[in-house]
């Protein structure tokens, strides 16, 4: 992506403006469109075969038949399936994701509201997960087979296998109820809910923009527990992967060479071995970040965190398909975006990829 001129295998230089950077860009866009289209089609079809009547979400169980029939027609549900899909896709191409039945607002507005909440939570969780997971993995690898290794592995196993619902409630019971170290469910104390006008939708940033440090610390005390619970999950995964990548690297000959040369053990571990581990690790972190960005439904429910996971789940349960499809596109776009990001990071971390 960084060089316009490239050598072919036989050594001839050729202009690759289009077939290279541009070409891969076009290929990328093309595969994006195919992927998103497939995603839409499948989600749309699933939505239509669900045994849930979407009109019910709009008018409720008690509406008279005449209203029900009218709304059903307004929602286009009496048209043939292909026509419904055609209308939906052509609306999307014009930037209109339709209106959510459950919130009676445009889906795009809803997503602008719920996605930042998830983004904020996932980002803080990933930062915690990386900051603790990598050192723990390295630590375990260095002490392979001894008690620190076992400790990290057990800690990781527990984090990986504990139901998040239980973990969340226990966390609230201990750190919020008993100890009072953190704040309870919600993004801010209930009393503050309408003190903040969403600018970015990220509470930590919005409170700083308004320059209200009390609210900022309130937001911090609300996010720390759910983020830690989510982080425990990704931490366990990251630590395990770091450990196995590190073990592989530490057994390599260049490590032996480095030791023979008398380089300090710290430098060997943190610079030489970890440096090489970072490349595959980026994929691991990116994947776990993308997973968190889908929104974690259970965590969001327990911590009454109005994020994407809850939004999509609630919409799905009421067969509010505009909202589900809108959410699905966001999740798809997030996955693609995070993958692109990790591609870019690859190039920064791995000199070979830059060539």
């Amino acid at each position: 992506m960084f060089s316009v001129l490239r050598s072919n295998r036989d050594g001839r230089k050729r202009a690759r403006l289009f077939s290279g950077t541009g070409g891969s860009f076009i290929r990328l866009v093309f595969s994006l469109i195919i992927t998103l289209f497939g995603l839409l089609l499948v989600t749309f079809l699933i939505g239509r075969v669900l045994p849930i009547d979407p009109v019910l979400a709009a008018v409720g169980d008690r509406a008279p038949q005449a209203v029900y029939d009218r709304v059903r027609e307004e929602m286009g549900l009496n048209l043939p399936l292909w026509q419904q899909f055609y209308i939906y896709v052509s609306n999307i191409l014009q930037g209109d994701f339709g209106r959510s039945v459950l919130t009676s607002r445009p889906v795009l507005d809803d997503i602008k509201r719920v996605f930042p909440a998830t983004l904020e939570l996932a980002t803080v969780a990933t930062i915690i997960g990386v900051a603790l997971g990598i050192p723990m993995g390295v630590f375990a690898a260095v002490h392979k087979g001894k008690w620190p290794d076992h400790l990290v592995r057990i800690f990781g196993l527990v984090g990986y296998s504990m139901p998040i619902f239980w973990l969340g409630l226990m966390g609230l019971m201990i750190f919020y109820m008993k100890l009072g170290w953190v704040a309870g469910p919600g993004r801010l104390d209930a009393f503050y809910v309408d003190f903040i006008e969403p600018t970015t939708g990220l509470m930590l940033i919005d409170t700083l923009i308004e320059g209200d440090m009390d609210l900022f610390w309130n937001a911090v005390s609300h996010i720390i527990l759910p983020a830690s619970i989510l982080a425990y999950f990704s931490l366990a995964y990251i630590a395990r992967m770091t450990r196995s990548f590190m073990l592989e690297q530490l057994g390599q000959e260049y490590i032996l060479t480095a030791r023979v040369k008398g380089i300090s053990e710290t430098r060997i571990i943190w610079r030489h071995a970890l440096g090489n581990v970072m490349v595959p690790l980026v994929t691991v972190i990116a994947l776990s970040y993308a997973n968190l960005l889908e929104g974690s439904v259970l965590t969001e429910i327990i911590f009454s965190w109005p994020g994407l996971g809850q939004y999509i789940t609630n919409s799905l349960l009421k067969a509010d398909m505009n909202a589900v499809l809108g959410g699905t596109i966001v999740v798809g776009a997030v996955f693609i975006g995070v993958n692109l990001l990790s591609d870019v990071l690859y190039r920064l971390l791995d000199p070979r990829a830059r060539r």
Partner: protein
């Protein structure tokens, strides 16, 4: 390595530093956790959901109201007084002077007429409540009209019982909206509907501050409210879906009221010295719908047997733990004409005898569509156990709410276990669904509960229609008694419980006024010490 350990220690220390001070909610603000994700609109002409109705009840004044303690006491709110013509077909309402909308505009007869007309013209879900009087989009402009600044006349197509008409006007569709304000936001002749779905134009004790769908709803007190300014200057309702989270917030004092605690949480808080409970019977009924398309369930003896096979007291005291009382008639306690004797108890021998009479001494197989919530599943399992005693093999088909309801509405169930909530405070609301079915064919245009269960209500349909024309209240009550007895004995419904709402409050919160429906849960009298 030492650095690493030091780092870990420092990290732990930082992470465990107390970040939150134990804050109490302010004295003049009411903070409440409530499952409010059912709100889909804020327009009173469209609202038909529980928490939406509660919002409208606190922010809009209605034409007529009733006493929460004694529903039979009907009084005027926006209407100062009313007259019914000799022939019973014309109602004349005198409008109260001195009511002001949040915009500052005075409330006049023009607003009242507009609000009622608007309900019919917009024709949203609750519009039928007024439509029952023969009002249609074509005739409403002449049937409802202002005759002077402070008088509104409403003409009906039949001489309905005055109680019927007045109770219907106590529903959300009787809310008065600010005509000037609403019409200022009109788009393409929508009578300001699109705007009002997320905005406010009322005169109630509270005004809308902000609604974030599925997140929070906040109200501010109307400092000029004509009937007493609320002591709570702000009301903040936070959507908390998980009951366990509501409990924690309440115990910690971060909220004043939790609205959706489950039976086990209420039990665990019984001995708390900081939390108290307030119980209010609501109109919701738990019942089984027995499809008459099923060969066994269409047998009257079988239906009767099933009514003797429910452990009413057991379910009410354990599974629903205080959140219901046994109630077997289709009119909930508190409604005009409600029957409160509950003739059926768990009696396996009697049920067996009835099944033998029906030619099914060994029972039969049948399925029940069951929503997968704790309470409904618990009820279904108890019923499964008691039915097994009489040899009936009940298969529970679990599903999400939308799923089971869709199947029920399409008449594809054997048995449906569910909840029915009345639409307005008049007995006709339930009579017209449990005892009324003018067309039992699959293509019927009206689809009451009797239809969903494919039950031909016979002459009950005509009797139900007659009851709304009976202008003598005594006689009207007697008619509803008869209808209830008939449905109880012969109908395809095993009506089991009447819902009780339990609000959990901090000890310092007083005077929350809970009514028989969510429409009449009022915050305006709340005080805190």
């Amino acid at each position: 390595m030492r650095k690493l350990i030091a780092g870990l220690v420092l990290g732990t220390a930082l992470a465990t530093m107390p970040l939150s001070a134990n804050a109490e909610t302010p004295k003049n603000a009411l903070v409440m956790a409530f499952s409010i994700d059912d709100i889909i609109t804020l327009d009173p002409a469209e609202i038909f959901e529980f928490s939406g109705a509660e919002y409208a009840g606190n922010t809009y004044d209605r034409l007529i109201g009733f006493d929460n303690k004694d529903v039979s006491k009907i009084h005027g709110v926006v209407a100062e007084s009313w007259d019914v013509s000799e022939d019973g077909k014309t109602f004349t309402f005198k409008i109260r002077d001195g009511i002001k909308f949040a915009s500052g505009n005075p409330l006049t007869a023009e607003d009242v007429a507009f609000s009622l007309q608007r309900v019919i013209l917009l024709d949203q879900s609750p519009a039928f409540i007024l439509g029952q009087f023969g009002l249609t989009p074509d005739n409403v402009m002449e049937k409802i009209r202002m005759t002077d600044d402070m008088t509104v006349v409403m003409e009906l197509d039949q001489p309905f019982a005055p109680t019927f008409v007045l109770y219907c006007l106590t529903a959300g569709v009787g809310a008065v909206v600010d005509k000037a304000e609403v019409m200022a936001h009109e788009k393409d002749g929508d009578l300001g509907h699109e705007w009002l779905r997320t905005a406010y134009a009322g005169s109630g004790p509270f005004a809308l501050n902000k609604w974030t769908a599925g997140e929070s709803l906040s109200l501010t007190a109307n400092e000029e409210y004509w009937d007493g300014v609320p002591e709570m200057k702000r009301v903040i309702i936070r959507h908390v879906a998980e009951a366990a989270s509501q409990q924690l917030l309440l115990e910690k004092g971060d909220i004043d009221i939790a609205r959706n605690l489950e039976a086990d949480q209420i039990a665990s808080l019984q001995n708390s010295d900081t939390i108290k409970f307030q119980n209010q019977p609501k109109g919701g009924l738990w019942y089984l719908g027995l499809s008459q398309k099923n060969e066994y369930l269409s047998n009257p003896k079988v239906r009767e047997a099933l009514k003797y096979l429910v452990d009413y007291d057991g379910i009410s005291s354990t599974i629903l733990a205080g959140r219901s009382t046994v109630h077997q008639a289709f009119l909930p306690d508190g409604f005009l004409g409600a029957l409160n004797d509950n003739p059926y108890t768990l009696d396996v021998e009697k049920a067996k005898a009835l099944l033998a009479e029906a030619g099914l001494p060994d029972g039969f197989n049948v399925s029940m569509d069951t929503r997968n919530t704790t309470a409904i599943m618990g009820m279904a399992q108890s019923i499964q156990a008691t039915w097994a005693l009489a040899g009936i093999n009940l298969e529970i088909i679990p599903g999400d709410g939308g799923q089971t309801l869709t199947k029920y509405r399409a008449r594809q169930h054997d048995i449906y276990i569910g909840r029915w909530g009345p639409d307005y405070q008049d007995p006709h609301t339930n009579a017209s669904t449990f005892a009324w079915n003018p067309d039992n064919s699959d293509e019927a245009s009206a689809k009451p509960l009797a239809w969903r269960n494919a039950w031909d209500a016979g002459d009950l349909t005509a009797k139900t229609d007659a009851a709304i024309l009976e202008r003598d209240t005594e006689k009207r009550v007697a008619m509803y008694h008869e209808l209830q007895r008939d449905v109880m004995a012969n109908g395809p419904f095993v009506i089991m419980f009447q819902e009780t709402e339990i609000a959990s409050l901090r000890n310092n919160v007083h005077n929350l006024d809970l009514g028989p429906s969510f429409d009449n849960n009022y915050y305006r009298f709340v005080t805190k010490d």
